[in-house]
């Protein structure tokens, strides 16, 4: 099982000091956070993609390429890459290049984004969100698997005799997760291709995601990729920890109360009861995260949101120390217990190459 962090890349005022970091500081902070993730033994760093203030990460492969050069083991991912408004040809090229530079330590979560105007800014129509996600990925999937592609669709110039370069490392494309908060069509899409399904469950009650993940698992089996239990599931989480849970609550409350996504709404306590947010001791985070398996089944990747709502870099780095030293080692051991042998580990380039080599020719 893989553990990591994902960053939205928001530039938010620290409500306790009134200070807002510059974009430059935030970009550098994201890099520092990624490097820390590797240092404390996490497996994955994923960056968001946004095209409007107050967010900085508009160019994920640039950032991830830089992080790749400064890390050894960390898997570099996205949360999410906009499959609707990016040209699938450019996604194929950018992530292939990144995959070579990072020696395979690359995968991506595809999503549709959460900002309506991004569609028109990139010449698309938001009402076509799902069809864009389906058609663009159908093309991306082929560009990474066929050396020469002839293609015609509804949303993009046709291609005749096109070869996307560089070809994927070792002939194995980066692993793709399909991210969705509410659309069963995307769970169906992930199942159809046998790709991963990332349910970003951090802002919503679990019942909703239990249905969505259950649908994905059933359809994954329906399309012949394995048993429902072998489907590749990723989940989000959101935590803030101190040795003493009262200290964690006291320190995090002003950030919660003013957070861009849910601030000025329910109380911290109510939001913790309704969503996976856990503010407390490392043991509370361990207990809460272990519950995910009861709700969603054995899964492959757990990403935590650690660096939003104006938390200063120093605090985030302290949080990562606690996560890496006190929480993740216990989670690794506990999740490994009673995990059925047929449930796969989180996908890596090495595991995909091995699967590719053992697959029958032409498959």
């Amino acid at each position: 099982m893989q553990f990591g962090i994902f960053s939205v890349g928001d530039v938010t005022m620290d409500p306790t000091t009134g200070r807002t970091p510059t974009e430059h500081e935030r970009v550098k902070a994201m890099v520092a956070i990624a490097l820390k993730a590797e240092e404390v033994g996490l497996d994955v760093f994923a960056t968001g993609e946004h095209h409007n203030p107050p967010f900085v990460p508009s160019s994920p492969t640039t950032m991830l390429g830089y992080i790749a050069a400064r890390t050894e083991r960390l898997i570099l991912s996205t949360a999410t890459t906009l499959i609707t408004t990016n040209d699938p040809v450019k996604i194929a090229e950018d992530f292939s290049m990144l995959q070579h530079l990072a020696d395979g330590r690359v995968d991506l979560i595809l999503g549709r984004g959460n900002t309506g105007p991004v569609y028109p800014w990139f010449g698309q129509d938001i009402r076509q969100g799902i069809p864009l996600a389906i058609e663009n990925y159908a093309l991306l999937h082929r560009l990474w698997r066929e050396d020469v592609v002839d293609w015609e669709g509804r949303f993009r110039t046709p291609l005749q005799g096109f070869t996307s370069t560089p070809r994927p490392l070792d002939g194995v494309p980066p692993f793709v997760w399909h991210g969705s908060i509410r659309s069963p069509e995307i769970a169906e899409q992930a199942a159809y291709y046998g790709d991963g399904f990332f349910a970003n469950n951090i802002f919503w009650p679990k019942e909703h995601f239990m249905r969505l993940i259950s649908l994905y698992r059933q359809r994954y089996a329906h399309y012949g990729h394995g048993t429902p239990e072998q489907a590749v599931v990723g989940l989000g989480g959101q935590v803030f920890m101190r040795k003493n849970s009262q200290d964690a609550v006291r320190e995090f409350r002003p950030y919660f109360d003013n957070a861009p996504v849910y601030g000025h709404g329910p109380s911290l306590e109510e939001f913790m009861a309704e969503t996976p947010l856990t503010v407390g001791s490392p043991q509370q985070v361990i207990d809460r995260t272990l519950e995910f398996r009861e709700f969603f089944g054995d899964y492959q990747r757990q990403l935590f949101l650690m660096d939003h709502a104006g938390l200063p870099l120093k605090t985030v780095l302290e949080q990562l120390d606690i996560l890496g030293e006190e929480v993740v080692p216990v989670l690794r051991a506990e999740f490994a217990k009673d995990r059925p042998a047929e449930v796969p580990d989180g996908p890596t380039h090495a595991s995909l190459v091995a699967a590719h080599e053992s697959a029958p020719a032409g498959a």
Binding site: A138, P184, E188, A191, R211, L215, G265, P266, A273
Partner: protein, 217 residues
Amino acid sequence: MKLVVVAAGLTQPSSTRLLADRLAEATSGLLPEPPEVRVVELRELAVDVANAFVTGFPNTRLREVIEAVTAADGLIAVTPIFSGSYSGLFKSFFDVIDPTALAGKPVLLAATGGTARHSLALEHALRPLFSYLRAVVVPTAVYAAAEDWGGGGDPFTDGLGERIARAAGELADLLARRAPEPREGTRADGRQVEDLEDLEDVVPFEQQLAALRPPTA
């Protein structure tokens, strides 16, 4: 049979609640078997409704109420008239319900206000809202102005009691004509409440792909 009454009155006791109770009682009395009546006071859910706007999801308490409303066989919705229209809380509650979830549901609309001059707000504000939601709204909507509680009508208008009876009769007729009692947790349109996300309706992927293929010349 389940009858849910949504009352958006803000005071306790409120004339909105009084009107809601009279409508529920009149409707119940006209049905062959007494229905299970549940009254929802939106006042008690005001913070939950506001939080649902901020967080994007209804919390457990509000979710349970929404499920009760969408699963009801019939709905009585009563609001005070503020500034010529339904109250903001009344509209907000219906805004956090899926806009297709009340399709086909029999609904009786009613409102209260200080003066009878606002009575057409029922026709100009509430009825279009429920038309948008594709609910089946009974022809008589009941408005109770302050003076109605102490008057008996006039040569041009029935008194409040008669109007309540007429509206209740219309709702009871609609309810009586409905199919046999649906299973527990079933919505007006027959779907299970727990399937609000329509997961069982997922379109097979081949079909989604085929819809995108350019027409072959």
